[in-house]
Symmetry: C2
């Protein structure tokens, strides 16, 4: 600003440059920016830049898909309201670009993000294309999400939201600029199973959980609605089920002479496990010889498939307990006439399966229907074309058995993905806990203990040990939240961030570009992501002391 | 009301009876009423009666003790505001007393509770008399708490609050009438240790925890304020400690060239555990050869004893790691001159102890100062008269060693009372979790795993295996909440109700009148108490599905 005319022009040039240059990312930028799950590929041009998000920021979505329009509004609001403060101030000074370095001028602002979708009306069903590309130009002049479907576009919106943070010094939301993301999931089925049969969860807690799942790019909420302990679903055609079976009036999900060993004590002889009537307290199994069973079954299938449009219908089938059926007089007579428990189960499944298929659903059963030693069905009752099996036992061995038999598999191996393991057992009057000796090295009462850490969840390969051909039948996995000892007071901490670990492993994998497991590098990223989820209202468990996040590598076992 | 005069008199008599009779306890009465910890003795006259709590209910306290007056107001407010709805509608019809049976009249109301205290000014110190008697007369005409001290009176108020519940049908708070309680703790020291060194906890979360402790009649908050990872306490004489040592500005507790192996990586060789510099990530130990150490120590002791009036001062002393001192050049020279690590520790403790005693405190150290194989001090440094030792290792064996050496013991055996155990380990880059095999029967990474269930906590006898003479030196116990993997988002569920299990065991024991362990009978009581704590804002973990509470005994392992 020294000389008159020339200086004035120089000033104008300077000002115009300032007005068009993004801010150098010099304020609380998480470096590298953290997106969880880690995208398939992401680049951030150097030197790292960021641009302010305008206070009138909005998402421009094509019209014609109400869900997409709703997502557009939701994410625009989140961008402005979240004000995420990262845990760690960057250790490096980010170099500023161009002549605007260090200047305190307003700079460019990002006013909107555009969504471009090829197939706006692709339905949300298993296998739908969830890929997307996200681009935020270096000058922050434009930001676009391009996707094949609305669902992919939503994945892109979530990633975009994680590229933004609050800059206290500027009192503004910044978003990384000069970013390009291309992203797509490895597995089409990435789920969480929540058991609302053992414990009722208020709808608000379920919705919060689903929101957290979406933030983690998980796509299947496996609602284990009922179990022996309670039937909270109001079924129009069978109102008595919820009336008598729910925990109470306030513990139902509205919309709305059958049972062997009903109401019996589950374990008549604690020293004779094979004679049990149930796998845990709460005995009672449907009796396939009872005609009314099929009437109720049919009503339930019809009502539930009317209530839920999803393409998969989970028909259960795990832990069929021989002792229960063996104690039923009508079944005893059936067995005496030459029947078998397997044929009895096949009678039931053989009736359920066609009903499910007639409603245009794929049936999902627990692995037991095929793999249980004592009680199982033949393939004719569960044709592979209309059946998927969900694993829980014996790790990769059972996955292999399932896919070799030609079935698609959803992997939920208990030793990796069961989130309830490791907190003892809930049965009372158990003298085993009255023991003055050390308990180190024991299970602590939990059948599937120990507790599965996020690392164990993260490192698990759902298709481990399979050939490429076999692996093609693995559609994905689910972490399972059984709730004998979990309710809304502790749900978030029990599910998150361990479910996030599976979410990344099934979205973009658990290995780096060289093919090595990347759990070490994932630690700080998961700490940051957990911190962000807490800010969004999810009471996730911490994985390390904050001290560790401030000192990368210092909390490793091996440096 | 048939004849005129006689009938009228009869009516008057009837009405007067109604006005003075308490309501039969026919509405949602928890039967038996649940007080946790179970009182030493409690009786409820039969048939069980209850009386309405007046909307102007208040607690009449003697003046002269501000804490007691405050408690009186607090509990009066709680009585009216809590509106506790028990989980279980009683299976029995409670018989009503007298002519008022079944009538819907207003009945008697309890207008106030009176506190009678012998020694109003007894200070709150270790060993203070916490006994009380509580009486609610059958007609609900009067309710009294009688106690030796204000602190006992507060225990009585808590018990009184647990005898009240909300009756929806009457739209009123009821309290059991015809009740007599006599109660006193078995152990004088019943504590929770919270580690705010590994993780910062907002003051509100600490206060909520202390409130929950009071409800459980626990009486010692062992504040493990600082550790290697952070020093969040603002000390006037050493401001740099919190300035440099806290996690950040918002993570301090205000009021206010010293260190070996500071900032070093904790485990130089993962295959050589003995060479470690620290027991976990975060290396650094005070160097007793450094004169400034004593200057800072003295300032810290002075400031902390000014801030906290409690009679006990915990001076730490656990996990002194040889590798750290051995790596320090000044200590290497000391050792070369004939010094030993034990004498080095004794130099430190020998200086700290007199300072603590000069401030009129009893010093508490972790058991290691006496029992560690490698580094320990002689009894002359820690005279039993002014020393208490806190156990954590080797269960009852170390308790026995301590009391046989003449020291009082606070029991915190890790295998029973460490609340952090069982959630893996927090160190990163650990390939042990990358294992496709089943993990059943392994520790899952936690050094002290498995997770200690409430039953294990409950069944532990802190004086187990000791003679009566030895047991007299066991002052009580503490459950310990180490927080490498715990913060405010999950604190309540990790602490409660397991701390409640210890609270009862140390208050009134874990056995029934015949001397047998009473964990089976405690289960439903703990479910009810946990439910009540949740209603009071403590997000405690559930211990069984609700199904179990509705079917006593059906969820037992052994019927």
């Amino acid at each position: 600003m020294a000389t008159k005319n020339g200086g004035f022009v120089a000033l104008l040039l300077l000002l115009s440059f300032l007005l068009s240059s993004p801010l150098p990312a010099r304020c609380d930028a998480p470096l590298p920016v953290n997106v969880w799950p880690k995208p398939t590929s992401m680049s951030w041009a150097e030197p790292h830049m960021a641009v302010r998000v305008s206070s009138s920021f909005h998402v421009v979505a094509p019209s014609g898909n109400a869900h997409l329009l709703s997502a557009a509004r939701r994410y625009a609001a989140l961008l402005l309201a979240e004000r995420y403060r990262p845990l760690v101030t960057p250790a490096v000074n980010v170099t500023a670009g161009g002549a605007g370095a260090g200047a305190a001028g307003r700079g460019a602002e990002l006013g909107y993000l555009t969504l471009a979708v090829s197939d706006l009306h692709a339905p949300l069903q298993h296998g739908v294309d969830e890929s997307y590309a996200l681009e935020i130009l270096p000058a922050g002049a434009a930001a676009t999400v391009t996707a094949a479907t609305a669902w992919g576009a939503m994945r892109g919106l979530e990633t975009f939201s994680q590229l933004a943070w609050w800059c206290g010094r500027e009192r503004a939301v910044l978003v990384a600029a000069g970013v390009r993301v291309e992203d797509r999931p490895l597995y089409p089925h990435r789920g969480l199973m929540l058991d609302t049969g053992r414990t009722y969860f208020p709808v608000a807690d379920i919705l919060r959980t689903i929101d957290a799942m979406a933030a983690n790019k998980m796509n299947v909420f496996h609602w284990h609605i009922t179990d022996s302990q309670s039937f909270p679903l109001e079924l129009p055609s069978e109102p008595a089920l919820a009336e008598k079976g729910s925990y109470g009036d306030g513990m139902r999900y509205t919309v709305d002479d059958l049972v062997s060993c009903a109401g019996e004590f589950w374990l008549p002889d604690a020293s004779d496990w094979p004679s049990r009537l149930a796998a845990e307290p709460g005995a009672g199994q449907l009796n396939p010889l009872e005609p009314k069973t099929y009437q109720v079954m049919s009503n339930v299938i019809n009502d539930v498939t009317s209530l839920f449009p999803d393409g998969f219908y989970h028909a259960g089938g795990d832990e069929v307990t021989p002792g229960c059926w063996n104690a039923d007089p009508s079944i005893q007579r059936y067995l005496a006439r030459g029947g078998t428990l397997s044929r009895l189960l096949e009678k039931f499944v053989g009736a359920a399966h066609p009903l499910i298929v007639s409603r245009n659903r794929t049936a999902v059963y627990w692995e037991d229907v095929l793999l249980d030693q004592a009680v199982n069905v033949t393939a004719s009752a569960i044709p592979p074309e209309t059946t998927i099996l969900q694993t829980w036992n014996n790790g990769g061995n059972n996955t292999r058995l399932i896919v070799r038999a030609g079935y698609r598999a959803i992997v939920s191996s208990a030793s990796f993905y069961y989130l309830d393991c490791g907190h003892g057992d809930f049965a009372g009057n158990d003298s085993a806990y009255d023991d003055p000796r050390s308990d180190y090295g024991t299970s602590g009462g939990s059948w599937c203990g120990p507790y599965k850490t996020w690392q164990r969840v993260y490192d698990y390969d759902v298709a481990g040990g399979l050939t490429a051909e076999e692996a093609r039948l693995v559609v994905g996995g689910e972490v399972a939240m059984w709730t004998e000892q979990v309710d809304a007071a502790v749900l978030d901490g029990r599910v998150w961030p361990r479910a996030s670990a599976m979410a990344e492993a099934l979205w973009s994998g658990n290995r780096d570009a060289t093919g090595r497991k990347r759990y070490a590098e994932a630690t700080d990223r998961l700490t940051d992501w957990r911190h962000r989820m807490v800010g969004r209202g999810v009471r996730a468990e911490p994985i390390q002391p904050l001290w560790c996040r401030n000192r990368p590598g210092m909390c490793n076992l091996v440096r």
